[in-house]
Symmetry: C2
Subunit: 185 residues, 2 copies
């Protein structure tokens, strides 16, 4: 049985967000509350470890072998940071597997009147569910959630090929200020 | 009197980091423990509000009017997120003012064996202290701190004009994967 404390964040939040700005982008129309036949969009739950969550992330990048204990520990560490980690998933209710996920992570600031900013991270859709607008649904949902949380901006880093995709949601390069630099350690 | 609980993070950490990779970059030689005459590099302290910390941030971007109560609340909220917010400052001990600051913020992940990644944010040096290598010192210090914390990567977003500056520390654009997109809300 799923209980609230096993969700990474309050399930009710996804029901409160205003998704209306994004509905025109979807054909056929889908939304966080109606993501498609036999699909459910909801917060990451600790039991999603058993529903293929790590395997889905492995489509994106290296995950290594993560045990359930390690997963629970990290899940708990994320929950110990109030109002910071918002990971949403889409579950295929026929197979009880996680088929899409996206993270919104919040950073607290002193700038902008002690404001908060959001970042979209770790966007993955399972190969077998491509063409069902789930990537767009996740980005639209997390963007609306960021707006609900009153961030002053949301940002993301992406490959060249994905710039047009994110552009649909208003994410854009700002003139002279769109460089993402990395140092791998 | 400054006490440990009034620091944003453990002061001892800055003494433990291995700064040796970066020392060759400085002429004259400076380091986190020896940042220059009458200067001290240390964690942000709650009393730095009274030492011009917000005014310094205002050189970077809009801060609005932040009261001491608002500052203390945000400081406390950051501390409630374990192992997440590392804000360092340089204090001018002659004038008791904060003359430089940089943030390292940590994001917990499930990917990379439940790894962590770091981001360099809000780098500011006071105009009157330019030419004293304080920007380089802050970036070197926070990069070394990120390595000490065992992040798998550190990243930052910057203007075109600053790409060469960060390049000195190994921060670089990766081929086809260096886009920083923003949505202001």
């Amino acid at each position: 049985m799923d209980t609230d404390f096993e969700n990474l964040f309050d399930d009710g939040m996804l029901k409160l967000i205003d998704f209306s700005k994004h509905t025109s982008q979807f054909s056929p129309p889908i939304s966080p509350n109606n993501p498609g036949d036999n699909l459910k969009l909801r917060p990451l739950n600790v039991n999603d470890y058993h529903k293929g969550y790590i395997g889905l992330l492995a489509k994106l990048t290296s995950t290594g072998d993560v045990t359930f204990d390690q997963f629970k520990k990290r899940f708990s560490q994320m929950k110990q940071c109030p109002n910071t980690y918002y990971i949403a998933v889409v579950e295929d209710l026929e197979t009880n597997t996680i088929v899409a996920t996206t993270t919104l992570v919040i950073e607290q600031k002193f700038i902008h009147e002690c404001g908060i900013r959001g970042r979209i991270e770790d966007v993955v859709v399972c190969d077998t569910k491509r063409g069902k607008q789930l990537g767009k649904l996740m980005i639209g949902t997390m963007t609306a959630l960021a707006e609900y949380l009153k961030v002053y901006k949301v940002s993301l880093e992406c490959k060249d090929s994905l710039v047009p995709f994110y552009g649909q949601f208003g994410y854009k390069k700002e003139a002279n200020n769109s460089n993402y630099l990395q140092l791998r350690l």
